[in-house]
Amino acid sequence: MERSLDHDDYPAAAARARSCGAFIPDDEDEWAADEPCSCFNCRSRRWTPTAATCMKPGMAP
């Protein structure tokens, strides 16, 4: 699994979150995607200038 997603790749963020057993929704005010279950709405993502990176231990490639 890729550790980072381009910050505009909403379909990939949703698809990845759906298949991830570690998705935990962040505070709703920090959600960035319309689809609730998305890496972009996960508590374990960290935004960088161009991407969202998964910070969950064990999720790195």
Binding site: D27, D29, W31, A32, A33, D34, W47
Partner: protein, 244 residues
């Protein structure tokens, strides 16, 4: 007497967010009878490799209308206490409190806020400006780096046009249709505008989306709407509000 309070960098990936801490602060201020608080605005700051933010680098700001100026010291003590006892392990909390003049707008603070969205700033610069502008600025753990975002949030809220309002509005089920006049009757909506900034007429009908939020524009909580491909006006979705 009016205050602006802003906090930043109070969380880690496991803890509650900075917005929830701001809500806790508001609850204690109002319960103590020290004043009435406004909505909280979330201000997005620069995301950069040289900035040690947790996950998104935003600060949270709100107004307080003090019931008595004599409450100020107690309020400031409590705000500091909350940051010291409720901030998450590994965070770098910062607190900024500005006492506002009646027509308060400091161009220097606004400029600092805008710069914090575009460049890496230092604690030293933040403290120097806070002293110059007579803003209380304090750090409450870790590196205290949160003072930069806290002061920037004061400037951005003061600018009148930055950020999203924390929380979502309960206006009805998704798919419900309300007139603009009905939306404007809601206490947390000051204006209804399209994405170009034009206000919609009171009789225009708006289709509610899944999650309805306002943004902070021209010192107001503004509900942004767009015309869908079917010609109907709809409340903006989260992805459309992401840049605010």
């Amino acid at each position: 007497m009016k205050l602006l309070i802003c906090i930043d960098d109070t969380d880690n990936l496991e803890s509650r967010g900075t917005g929830e801490l701001a809500e806790l602060m508001i609850g204690q201020i109002e319960t103590a009878g020290w004043g009435r608080c406004s909505a909280i605005t979330r201000h997005q700051l620069l995301v950069h490799d040289d900035i040690p933010y947790t996950s998104h680098n935003s600060s949270m700001c709100f107004h307080v209308e003090l019931s008595d100026p004599a409450c100020l010291d107690a309020l400031m003590r409590q705000a500091r206490h909350i940051l010291e006892t409720e901030s998450a392990e590994g965070s770098d909390p910062g607190l900024a409190i500005a006492v506002l003049a009646p027509s308060a707008r400091s161009e220097r603070l606004v400029e600092f806020g805008h710069r914090a969205k575009q460049e890496v700033l230092t604690k030293e610069a933040a403290y120097a400006l806070a002293v110059e502008q007579n803003v209380h600025l304090s750090e409450h753990g870790g590196t205290g780096q949160g003072v930069i975002g806290a002061l920037a949030g004061i400037g951005l809220r003061m600018s009148g046009s930055d950020g999203r309002v924390k929380g979502r509005l309960n206006l009805g089920a998704p798919g419900a249709v309300l007139a603009v006049a009905e939306l404007l009757a809601h206490p947390q909506i000051d204006a209804v505008q399209d994405l170009g900034g034009d206000p919609l007429p009171p009789g225009q009908h708006i289709l509610l989306g899944d999650k309805v939020k306002t943004v902070w524009l021209d010192h107001q909580a503004v509900l942004l709407v767009y015309r869908g491909t079917d010609g109907r006006w709809k409340t903006c979705e989260r992805q459309q509000l992401r840049t605010y």
